[in-house]
């Protein structure tokens, strides 16, 4: 921790103001009431106050050495009492030696003798005051550091959470797709070629986009298109899809890869669970201060999912909460054979934490 007196110009000025003000006040007082000749009064006042100021700087190290967070209270009090006595003695002695070499006046010797007790008390009082100021400073610095650490920690947690919530490429999807490609290379090399390219583009997007937070809906949908294109080769006519996007929504910013899990769910609970064709529809509409995205899919009402849905959806909800500070941006509707998820993506982007 930096010395508060040298930490910045203002704190230095404030520090020196007090001893000098005390010295000058005393000098003016002594001259006005003709206790001392004017020149003697000023040399006396300034000598004592300057030495006081210089020695006061050193008290900081006593304070630093006696950290209330590390040492026992008794020990701190004892060291300060000792330091206060030493401080006052050194101050009185050295000031007296300097002043006496500058002033050759028997009246002044008498004055020093008369004011001795007051000065001792003055020295001790100054010491006590300064120590309390220093401790206040230390306390404030500790607090600031703690807050900084806290903020940094929170930021770290948020980052970790965000990266965990971001959808990862599902290995099951990847290996099944590779298997389909292996099959197509033997029966339909041209289709295999197309699938390898679609898979590469899809993977490049998913891997690279981990670093950026926001993308336009248009870009996100292009990637979803790749994903659906691949799944369509695997499931053929069983998978139908269409996007209905209002023109002005295309450039709306959304958290990247946030739609991916919705489509994965649609396919998992819609297409994987039935042998009948399933249609997945995405609708994007502008609403006041936000954009509304709906993903709708049919499902076989007789199918019973192996595991309850929800992890994917809960992750999206958590991610929206972290980014926009609201937990009501995702809603789920389930009708007889239709499952629909609605996301509300606010226009405001200034709430989004900036990455360092």
């Amino acid at each position: 921790m930096e010395h508060p007196v040298t930490a910045n110009k203002i704190s230095g000025l404030i520090y020196w103001f007090f001893p000098i003000a005390i010295g000058i006040t005393q000098a003016v007082f002594n001259s006005y009431f003709q206790i001392l000749p004017v020149s003697v009064a000023f040399i006396d006042g300034l000598t004592y106050s300057l030495v006081l100021g210089i020695l006061g700087v050193a008290i900081w190290y006593v304070v630093r050495y006696n950290d209330p967070e590390k040492s026992a209270v008794i020990q701190i009090i004892a060291s300060h009492i000792a330091a206060a006595l030493v401080f006052t003695s050194i101050w009185m002695l050295s000031s007296a030696i300097i002043a006496k070499t500058l002033i050759n006046d028997s009246l002044y010797d008498l004055y020093l003798k008369n004011i001795l007790t007051e000065r001792i008390f003055g020295g001790l009082l100054f010491y006590a005051l300064l120590v309390s100021l220093y401790y206040t400073y230390v306390y404030r610095q500790h607090n600031l550091e703690r807050q900084l650490k806290e903020a940094e920690w929170q930021n770290q947690i948020r980052k970790t959470q965000l990266s965990a919530l971001k959808s990862q490429i599902n290995p099951h999807f990847l290996f099944n797709t590779l298997n389909s490609i292996a099959s197509l290379t033997l029966t339909n090399p041209e289709k295999a070629h197309g699938m390898v390219i679609a898979l590469s583009d899809f993977m490049r997007y998913s891997l690279r986009k981990q670093q950026d937070d926001m993308v336009t809906l248009e870009v996100e949908l292009r990637n979803i298109g790749l994903y659906l294109q691949i799944e369509k080769i695997r499931f053929g006519d069983n998978l139908l899809y269409r996007f209905e996007v209002e023109e002005e929504c295309n450039h709306h910013l959304i958290p990247n890869l946030i739609l991916q899990p919705l489509f994965e769910n649609s396919i998992k609970y819609g297409v994987y669970e039935t042998s009948k064709p399933v249609e997945v529809i995405l609708k994007a509409n502008k609403i006041p201060d936000a954009m509304e995205i709906k993903v709708i899919n049919d499902f076989d009402p007789e199918s019973v999912p192996l595991k309850g849905e929800g992890v994917g959806l809960a992750n999206i909800n958590d991610r929206l909460l972290l980014l926009y500070g609201s937990s009501r941006l995702l809603t789920i509707e389930r009708a007889e054979t239709r499952f629909s998820v609605t996301l509300v993506i606010p226009d405001v982007t200034d709430k989004i934490p900036q990455r360092n």
Binding site: P171, F175, L178, N179, S183, I233, E273, S275, V304, L306
Partner: protein, 248 residues
């Protein structure tokens, strides 16, 4: 030696194409059928009585494992799956053969060699039972149960189960859809059904709490539960205290 009657069960036609392509090169194999889901698979196994089945795990309606539960004398099984490493570890220890998609032709040949060895000994594969057992232990709380009566296969959501009654070495599941026999133990269902929902009220009964209509005292230390469908089930002393605990 006769050819090995082989069945392929996989929901993806491209995956079946590839496997058929690999198998067509092997003189020992005769493909007797292809199925795209577990329902078809159960029936095909009953009708075709194959020696060997290549089985995918994740499929529509029921999984490959659930399908195996419905087959009384399972043939030799080779799994063909994209299951991730974590899940595969569960049955790795049992040394059953499984092929991780995508796999090369040599892997299929190696698996076939093992299958031939097994078919020679003609023993009912104890490993498949071990495998199913491991899978049971690994599966968490169940969401559904697959049952079969005659040719009809049904997937029952656990909510519609009213109670389960233990018989000698199987259980009878009473649900809204009727009652079904299942080759599993009471202990299995006690461990794999939500404990907040299903309570063991008697040595012979596991009861779904949401199907209770009334509880009557019958003698000093015995009670009877009436279900909403009108069944009367005995409650033992220990069962009554379990019940009281859950209904608090």
């Amino acid at each position: 030696m006769n050819k090995i009657k082989t069945l392929i069960i996989d929901d993806e036609s491209l995956a079946r194409d590839l496997l058929r392509h690999y198998l067509s090169k092997d003189e020992r194999v005769e493909i007797v059928g292809e199925c795209s889901n577990g329902f078809e698979g159960v029936l095909a196994i009953q009708e075709q009585n194959p020696d060997l089945v290549f089985l995918d795990i994740q499929m529509p309606k029921i999984t490959g494992f659930e399908m195996l539960e419905l087959v009384s004398n399972p043939p030799v099984i080779i799994f063909s799956t994209a299951y991730d490493q974590y899940a595969i570890r569960a049955f790795e220890a049992n040394a059953i053969d499984y092929l991780l998609k995508p796999y090369p032709s040599e892997r299929v040949t190696a698996a076939l060699n093992k299958a031939v060895e097994k078919l020679k000994t003609k023993s009912i594969d104890p490993e498949i039972n071990k495998l199913i057992k491991t899978h049971d232990e690994e599966s968490g709380i169940l969401n559904r149960i697959v049952v079969k009566s005659g040719r009809k296969i049904q997937v029952i959501p656990v909510e519609s189960i009213q109670y389960i009654e233990s018989q000698d070495d199987f259980v009878m599941i009473y649900c809204n859809e009727g009652h079904f026999m299942k080759q599993k133990t009471m202990k299995f269902f006690e461990e794999h059904l939500d404990a907040n929902q299903f309570v063991r009220i008697h040595r012979s009964y596991l009861l779904n709490l949401s199907h209770i209509s009334e509880i009557q005292q019958y003698e000093k230390e015995s009670w009877i539960v009436l279900t909403k469908q009108g069944a009367k089930l005995k409650v033992s002393k220990a069962g009554y205290s379990n019940l009281k605990e859950k209904l608090k």
